[in-house]
């Protein structure tokens, strides 16, 4: 565990190195938040010959790029931890600045895909006969998760992006109110997300393990650009989404709990790391979610039935989950398709 943290830290520091060099060459845009706000200049030449920077460097005890100092055991004599600066820089300059784009880009791609290639229809039309796919508990756990996730997503984005997106347009007062509200909502719904995650995991994990046909799915790009892809109950796309929700969701949950109960850890740097991972994970999930919503609704005819009625059309099942169809009906997907054609 400690090693893992260390690795993440190294990654972070590398990132920060990049940050530092770029920060100098990039001029802040007009509405950017001034990072130097409120930071007092260091004391003047108090140590005679030493320059201010030398003074600070000593004061904080060594090389800022040494990962040991950021996350490892605190070297003796270090009075000041400066990781807060790096954390702040990362959050303000990167996450806050670019996070909003990720979902927008996904939406853009989906829109282009929809216009150019269009939704996947049930090729043989609806059969009118249905197979049950998800039971009521599965459906409720899914929508419970969806509801909680959306509430958290909206409130989280307000907290993260209120300063750059709300304050400049609606004013600081409005931003303050909205952030206060969002913060309370976010904190309240957070624990429900953990409940939803565990529940959903239990209800959906069966059928979501990797199977060899999934390789074909990957090679055929999921059939989104044409061609038939075989799959069991869940195809590789769905499985990826499931595991992404599970793993990233766990990260978000753990880091969220730490942020909600900061006294659980002693080292401030863990909390700093938590906000970063929490934000990145959430933005990642939110972005992919749009893809999921697309495929679940307008992107693929007949998909939503499984989550609204628990039943899917037999033709849908044959076309998208042929191996599952064969398993639950005991019929061959390709043969019955032929049989039915003349009629």
């Amino acid at each position: 565990m400690n090693n893992l943290l260390r690795m993440v830290a190294v990654l972070l520091v590398l990132l920060m190195g990049v940050t530092a060099s770029q920060a100098q060459s990039v001029r802040p845009p007009g509405n950017a938040v001034n990072l130097d706000d409120g930071i007092e200049p260091g004391p003047p030449n108090t140590l005679g010959d030493l320059s201010d920077s030398d003074f600070w460097r000593n004061y904080r005890g060594g090389d800022p790029n040494d990962p040991q100092q950021i996350i490892g055991p605190r070297p003796d004599g270090v009075v000041l931890t400066t990781t807060g600066q790096h954390w702040r820089a990362l959050r303000e300059n990167y996450i806050r600045k670019y996070a909003g784009w990720a979902p927008l880009i996904v939406i853009g791609i989906l829109a282009v895909f929809y216009v150019l290639i269009g939704p996947m229809r049930i090729k043989s039309g609806r059969s009118g006969k249905t197979l049950s796919r998800f039971n009521l508990t599965q459906r409720v756990s899914h929508w419970f998760m969806a509801a909680v996730f959306i509430l958290l997503g909206i409130s989280g984005l307000i907290i993260l992006l209120g300063r750059p997106l709300i304050a400049p347009f609606l004013g600081k007062e409005v931003n303050s109110i909205m952030t206060s509200a969002a913060m309370q909502g976010h904190n309240l719904f957070g624990p429900l997300f953990i409940v939803a995650l565990v529940w959903m995991f239990i209800k959906f994990v069966r059928g979501n393990f990797f199977q060899w046909v999934d390789l074909k799915w990957i090679f055929k790009l999921g059939g989104f650009f044409g061609g038939h892809v075989s799959s069991h109950e869940f195809n590789f796309g769905e499985k990826s989404w499931f595991w992404m929700v599970t793993i990233v969701g766990t990260v978000i949950s753990v880091t969220g709990v730490l942020l909600l109960f900061p006294w659980l850890v002693e080292d401030l740097r863990i909390l700093q790391l938590s906000t970063i991972l929490h934000g990145l994970g959430a933005v990642g999930l939110i972005s992919v979610l749009f893809g999921h919503i697309y495929v679940g609704t307008i992107g693929m005819e007949g998909s939503l039935d499984s989550m609204l009625k628990g039943e899917v059309d037999e033709h849908w099942a044959k076309e998208h989950h042929d191996l599952w169809y064969e398993k639950v009906t005991g019929k061959s997907a390709s043969e019955t398709a032929k049989e039915e054609e003349p009629s």
């Binding site: 459906r139 409720v140 929508w143 109110i177 509200a181 719904f189 624990p191 429900l192």
Partner: protein
């Protein structure tokens, strides 16, 4: 008068009056429709049946409880937590004492308040998502069901958003939704909070006369 004062003062009074009168009118109206007196020789007491019917239906029957466990948990969780929330949360007690009656209600600790809120939210969300994701529920639900759920959800949500208690606006927003909820209540299916005792009681009485408690 500030917006907050308005929604907590006059509007709240008007809404409460509509609520009270509406409830009385509706319940009274149902009772006044009247019931023909049953003259078949009774085998049990209708009055006891009325009472027993009311109590019996609080407890799920074993054979059905398993099939409908999720619904029971969500339903009971939501309703009980909401009741506790309304009566024993510190800000509510303060409001009740301030505006309504000077009763001394025991105050929940903050963590208890938050926990009941979470249970209540979880229950309500489950109830509503169940409503939209099941063919039976989709068939029998109407606008009133959805409006009722959403209004109640908004009451709870705005309350939760105002938890920091540092912005009058958020508090006013909560109160506004509460007022709307109070006005909507007597005309809608939210009335089930009062009509349940009539329906349980009526069939309890009918069957009670026959010497059986359903």
């Amino acid at each position: 008068m500030s917006f907050l004062e308005f929604v907590e003062g006059p509007l709240f009074l008007v809404a409460s009056a509509i609520f009270l009168l509406g409830v009385v009118w509706r319940v009274g109206g149902i009772i006044l429709i009247g019931r023909k007196k049953d003259i078949s020789p009774p085998k049990g007491s209708a009055a006891m049946g009325f009472l027993k019917g009311n109590l019996r239906h609080f407890i799920p029957r074993g054979i059905f409880a398993k099939r409908t466990a999720l619904h029971l948990i969500a339903g009971y969780g939501f309703h009980l937590a909401l009741l506790v929330l309304v009566l024993f949360a510190a800000p509510h007690i303060a409001f009740i004492q301030d505006r309504l009656v000077n009763v001394n209600l025991p105050e929940m600790p903050r963590w208890g308040f938050i926990l009941t809120a979470e249970i209540s939210f979880a229950g309500l969300i489950m109830l509503w998502v169940r409503r939209i994701s099941d063919p039976v529920m989709r068939l029998i639900s109407d606008w009133d069901d959805h409006i009722g759920s959403w209004l109640t959800f908004l009451v709870m949500l705005t309350g939760c958003l105002a938890l920091q208690e540092s912005h009058g606006f958020l508090r006013a927003q909560h109160m506004l939704v509460v007022d709307v909820w109070l006005i909507y209540f007597p005309f809608s299916r939210l009335m089930h909070a009062f009509t349940f005792f009539l329906s349980r009681g009526n069939s309890g009485a009918t069957y009670g006369r026959k010497g059986i408690n359903l």
